[in-house]
Amino acid sequence: MCSMSYAKSIIDDIFGGIRPAARALERSASTIQGWYEAGTIPQKHWVDVTRVAKDFGHHLTPDDFYPAKTPATSSFGYPFEKLHCLSIDDFQRPDIETLLTLGEHYLDLNVQKSPDRSVLKGKTLVNLFFENSTRTEKSFEVAGKRLGADVISMQVASSSVKKGETLLDTATTLNAMNPDLLVVRHGSSGAPALLAQKVSCSVINAGDGMHEHPTQALLDVLTLRQAFATHGGDGQIDGLRIAICGDILHSRVARSNVKLLNMLGAEVRLVGPPTLIPTDADRWGADVFHDMKTGLTGCDVIMMLRLQMERMSGAFVPSKREYFHFHGLDRAKLGYAKDGAFVMHPGPMNRGVEISSDVADDPDVSLITQQVETGVAMRMGILHALSEAQDKQMDRKL
């Protein structure tokens, strides 16, 4: 969090607050207030601030005006050496900490808007989406571009696959382009894992069938850490009671989140009608509830899932009306959870089906906007970590 607010520490620690700083720098208090709130000081004032600070006995260097240095890609002494991001199972706890630390680093808008573009310099990121997606694809595109990569987006849903090209034919075509990072979304579980065996670059699973969506789980956890840190907690997931509600059966987000939240020590609950809960889900390390009232009792976080109409080949629930009545999140059902509980949703939402608009749009409880914002930062962090692991591996080979 330190990187977010270097202006604060300069103003408080050197000048002794906003008003003394305004007097010393001969600027209006509102200007200083602006810096204070933004956490940064515009570059044109750096010379002035450095000069005046000297009078107060502090020697500032340009480094002090830059946010914190990019964190190292290691946690607890374990270097991050994973080449793919296919499933939460790929990662150990230190890897997760590394990814979250990097994600947090890029969450700082100053870092995000003027990041170190050499991180992915000269690297090619290919977005390969066999299913339509807007937010995930664009968020990877922005993340790649901000870190200096060349980004190519391929919409395969509408092209050669219809002509009978198999996934591995596509892999061969891709290999010829020598990409470094491949972001894949596919309608079949395990498709990115199959690609990873056949391409010579890092593969990032951006959602495969009903299997996993690991980057979404990571960004959900990063969002939660931020939310609990700003609300007076220590930002730890450990010990939180988190309910994942709705269409668990078809949800890759739920599968990734159950694994990740369990790893981080949360008490995970799955709440949904029996037809939308997978077989033996109680053996996933989560408690299963079919009733929102008992399921949400005492929860710190409620993660709502989208009712995936497009994957429903049969009748799973009788009607949207009945679904909303028993399993949609409204004010009344939110009341079963702990006071101050947060609500999340991976989007896109079916308003009035799984969540009511007044809950979704209430900034005091809803983290849905933050989830979208965190998406780019978390993905920058993931790309950064994988790219460094690639470079390290390359160095070892040389």
Binding site: L167, S189, G190, G209, R255, P278, T279, D280, S313
Partner: protein, 421 residues
């Protein structure tokens, strides 16, 4: 007169329970004498203590001939068969065109005459396997079809199944039906369990198998038809068969060797080579099926040989084809279970020799004076590693690739001629 003698063999005949050392003499392709006091003549093979057993009869073999010769031809299947100790194969009707009339039964027989093993045809139960229109079961039986099957798909319509069983009863024809409720298992690619739902794969519950097995048992009881419940894979379906047999309903049931040797964990990491139909189920199912063979509830072990080229397998799991080649691993995988003390040797051999022979009405599958000299020499302890590249089948899709196996056929004799080893 050609003669062949196998000396110093441990002769095992699962039909009579005979198990003793000695010499076996074949003359003109027929077993003429066997026992400790037989004098060898003609060509002599020294078995050096190995097991001499009847050649295996595999009741469920798919080839690509006619129609999909890139998968397998009858000739390549025969090569694979003899290498695995199989001397008789029954070809499933799922070809293109479907074996649903006499001329195709005849075609299979003619192609089979050139092969080094005995080739029999299974006729289709319904025209073009549509599940609705009865085929000429009587005429195909006369033409030599040994059984009738609807391939991978069951006869879903109970009324059609009832008619098939009751019509075929007058020809004493064997009707094989897959135990699978088509709507309950629609769209499934794996066994429904905690394991498959973590992988995000749609599963078929074991209940889908049980429901169809119960229905077919009820219809067999109603009509008096001869029913074979084709390839059960779950403990639940085994219970159905066990109860039916305890009530003296004459049904038979088969299991594939894959389901005796593998379980659902083998599909971990989306190994499409272990994607099978029926799907691999849990370890408790596998153990139940093994005990079913040992106590005789399960009559037949089949290879479920289903050759698929790599292109049909190297796809995302849900899109990949189901099935595995099995002719070359059938005996070895069974012997490996014997070596693990999970399977009884004589029960396993019976399920691959005399039991299918009885069901199909074949002379082979036993060691008896006057029976065809279809024989194998087995080394039950030979260790080897299955290497898919070395398989003789045209397609190499085996889930056993890289596995350590115990036991194999070292010599295969079909019609008194050495065809392998």
């Amino acid at each position: 007169m050609s003669a062949l003698s196998i000396i110093n063999a441990r002769i095992i005949d699962p039909t009579s329970g005979y198990d003793g050392g000695g010499t076996l003499l074949c003359e003109d392709g027929i077993i003429s004498k066997f026992g400790p006091d037989v004098t060898a003549k003609g060509e002599i093979i020294d078995a050096d203590g190995l097991i001499c057993a009847p050649g295996l009869i595999d009741m469920r073999v798919s080839t690509g001939e006619p129609g999909r010769e890139n998968r397998e031809t009858i000739a390549t299947a025969a090569q694979a068969a003899v290498a695995g100790g199989v001397t008789s194969i029954v070809i499933m009707p799922e070809t293109n065109p479907v074996i649903d009339d006499m001329s195709l039964v005849d075609f299979i027989h003619r192609r089979g005459e050139e092969a080094s093993v005995n080739v029999y045809a299974a006729g289709a139960l319904s025209k073009n396997l549509d599940g609705k229109t009865l085929t000429e079961i009587g005429l195909m039986s006369e033409a030599g079809a040994v059984m009738f099957s609807n391939g991978a798909q069951p006869i879903a319509d109970s009324r059609i199944m009832r008619r098939l069983l009751s019509y075929s009863a007058s020809f004493n024809a064997l009707i094989a039906n897959r135990a699978m409720d088509p709507s309950l298992s629609a769209g499934s690619v794996a066994h429904e369990s905690d394991f498959s739902s973590r992988l995000g794969l749609t599963g078929a519950p074991a209940a889908a198998e049980r429901i169809m097995a119960e229905r077919d048992v009820a219809l067999a009881e109603l009509t008096g038809g001869r029913l074979l419940i084709d390839m059960i894979s779950s403990a639940e379906a085994l219970q159905v068969v066990r109860r039916a047999k305890s009530r003296d309903i004459e049904i038979a049931c088969s299991v594939s060797i894959n389901h005796l040797a593998l379980n659902e964990v083998d599909i971990g990491d989306y190994r499409t080579f272990a994607k099978l139909d029926p799907p691999l189920r849990e370890e408790r199912d596998r153990l139940a099926l093994l005990s079913g063979v040992n106590d005789g509830t399960i009559d037949v072990i089949v290879s479920a040989h289903d050759p698929r080229p790599a292109g049909e397998k190297r796809l995302p799991f849900a899109e990949a084809g189901a099935g595995a080649v099995g002719l070359e691993v059938l005996l070895s995988a069974a012997l490996s279970q014997v070596a693990d003390e999970k399977l009884d040797l004589v029960a396993a051999l019976a399920a691959m020799t005399c039991n299918p022979a009885t069901l199909l009405g074949l002379e082979s599958g036993r060691i008896a004076e006057g029976a065809p000299a279809d024989l194998i020499l087995i080394d039950p302890h030979a260790p080897w590693v299955c290497d898919s590249d070395k398989l003789l089948s045209r397609s190499k899709n085996t889930p056993f690739d890289g596995r350590r196996m115990t036991g194999r056929a070292v010599k295969t004799i079909c019609g008194g001629k050495v065809v392998f080893g």
